[in-house]
């Protein structure tokens, strides 16, 4: 049984990583808005949805006119991203800004507004789609090139297995040691002990590799579809671009300045409202592109498609440390992988008694566990500091 578990690992993690990239892009929208406004933009899941739906319409409308699927995808990404960005900016202008102008200090008021905006957008898209097509479910067309499957080298699978085993062993060892320390009345783990645990778990990993070399270095049959490759490449490029924008451009520095201290930023000649608009634009664009990629992976989109990925991505943002951009990206990847692990292994371990529909239980249990140890999130600062 252990062998099957190990064999499954690379493909499960790869699937998780692909999904994780989508979560990461959505999570960035939550975290950036939180960074500048300290507001959870619950309408972000619907911003993602509008991108997904706009992408589907682009695909369907232009399918005949643009025969090349790659160009078609590029157009869908641009249009999906742009529509989502516009929706995000409108939500900010029409829902959040008026509240800021009135100097509302109650944190619950914007939250309720966000939920209201969410419902409004769902029904608005439903209305538009309903009037237009007499149905509000849309399908991404499938293309042979996108469905094509490629086999990945076994070595990659072996590396993934070894890395995962190492991390899992380390986590278990660390946790055991931590409990031992707590039981004997001391707190925390010293730097030296931590290094020792890393080495010990590496040794254990290599031991498993040697004993079970047949499985670890055997034929793992790791495959990937073209559309998954596209999702990873596009997400990675966008995350990289965002990182560059936030750290290397004037706009990026201004966004971080406003996030840290909006009042002082205005003394630098920065109009905080302009920066807030840009933040919604960037977050919205990323969310919209995530919507198109989601549609590419899962085909079916509709006005309510944003809810689940939205909640997951929000969780990812909290997991990474809300307000922290790198954290949101990492949180998304971690959550995607946990979810896939949960889905596969829970079914497997319970002999099918708990199917994939329970996949989130394991994922969220692990999340709660992580947050118990690091309430501020993986990359989050101690309370009181942000972006």
């Amino acid at each position: 049984m252990l062998e099957v578990l190990i064999q499954l690992l690379p493909s499960v993690l790869l699937e998780g990583l692909i999904l994780g990239f989508v979560y990461a892009m959505i999570a960035l929208g939550y975290t950036m808005v939180y960074g500048v406004l300290e507001l959870i933009n619950f309408a972000h899941s619907e911003i993602f949805m509008s991108g997904a739906v706009a992408g589907a319409e682009t695909f369907i409308l232009l399918k005949a006119a643009v025969p090349n699927p790659f160009i078609l995808l590029a157009l869908a990404i641009l249009i999906g991203g742009a529509v989502a960005a516009i929706v995000a900016i409108l939500v900010e202008r029409l829902a959040y800004r008026p509240l800021r102008r009135r100097g509302t200090t109650n944190r619950l008021v914007p939250l309720i507004t966000a939920i209201g905006a969410s419902f409004f957008l769902q029904d608005l898209v439903r209305l538009i789609e309903g009037l237009w097509h007499n149905a509000f479910y849309r399908r991404y067309p499938s293309f042979e090139v996108f469905e094509a499957t490629y086999t990945l080298p076994n070595l990659l699978g072996s590396v993934i297995i070894l890395l995962t085993l190492w991390i899992v062993f380390w986590v278990l060892a660390y946790f055991a040691y931590w409990i031992y320390r707590a039981a004997t009345g001391t707190k925390g783990v010293s730097r030296r002990a931590s290094r020792g645990l890393w080495i010990a778990s590496l040794v254990l990993t290599l031991l498993v590799a040697v004993i079970d070399r047949g499985t670890v270095f055997g034929d793992l049959g790791l495959t990937i579809q073209m559309k998954s490759i596209l999702v990873v490449v596009i997400s990675f490029a966008m995350l990289y671009g965002l990182n560059w924008l936030v750290h290397k451009t004037k706009l990026g520095i201004a966004i971080r300045a406003v996030a840290q201290d909006a009042q002082t930023a205005s003394l630098m000649g920065i109009d905080p409202d302009v920066i807030i608009t840009y933040t919604f634009l960037i977050g919205g664009f990323l969310g919209g592109v995530a919507g198109v990629l989601f549609g590419l992976l899962y085909t079916l989109v509709h006005p309510y498609v944003g809810f689940i990925p939205g909640i997951k991505a929000f969780t990812a943002a909290v997991l990474g440390g809300i307000g922290n951009i790198t954290g949101a990206a990492l949180g998304g990847l971690v959550l995607g992988m946990l979810e896939m692990l949960g889905g596969t292994y829970l079914t497997f371990l319970t002999n099918g008694a708990m199917g994939t529909e329970y996949k989130d239980i394991l994922a969220f249990a692990i999340l709660i566990f992580i947050l118990l140890f690091r309430p501020q999130g993986i990359m989050g600062e101690q309370v009181g500091e942000k972006v």
Partner: protein, 237 residues
Amino acid sequence: MKKVLELKNVHTYYGHIHALKGIDLEVGEGEIVTLIGANGAGKTTTLRTISGMIHPREGEVLFEGVAVHHLPAHQIVKRGVGHVPEGRRIFPRLTVEENLEIGAYLQNDRQEIERRKAEVFELFPRLAERRRQLGGTLSGGEQQMLAIGRALMQDPRILLLDEPSMGLAPVLVDVIFETVAELNKRGKTILLVEQNALKALEVAHRGYVLQTGEITLAGPAKELAQNEEVKKAYLGG
């Protein structure tokens, strides 16, 4: 002398608290003017009213002859008001260099930005050594230098300084006051708010004494320093 800044009968409130009760004040081109007063007198409020962080309920703030008191802060800054706020307010998670860059937010000419940065580094060599360090990890004195440097990156027509010597060791206090004098020598117009009245009156041309929201005394700095009341209240006898 050309007036850079003029306050006419300015009244500012925080809710029901009447913090400024009819302030009249002016700063001429090339002057150092100091505003001294006890804790809670309204010094910070005066500067905040000038830079648009809070708006007066009555009266006028004229910058180079134009009323600006209805404008938001970022637009007043654009006209040439540089405000070094109380408590420095460095962006803690931006590097020293990024703090300076953001000071020059309104400037698009890269060469000009580099020129100003070089000037700030020449004025405060300590900052040049620490350009990659996060603002929040600087010492109090370095943060003050950075706050002043950041405002200088705007190349403002007038520099508002809110207690730049607060919480600094005596040596650093001297450095800061020397810098203020040096900047003025290079042509900067400065409005200096200080608790350290003795030093402030030494470096300034003129001064105002603020008491619970009202100007009670005004005049050349040398005369104020000799004034019995001022001596008793602010100069320790």
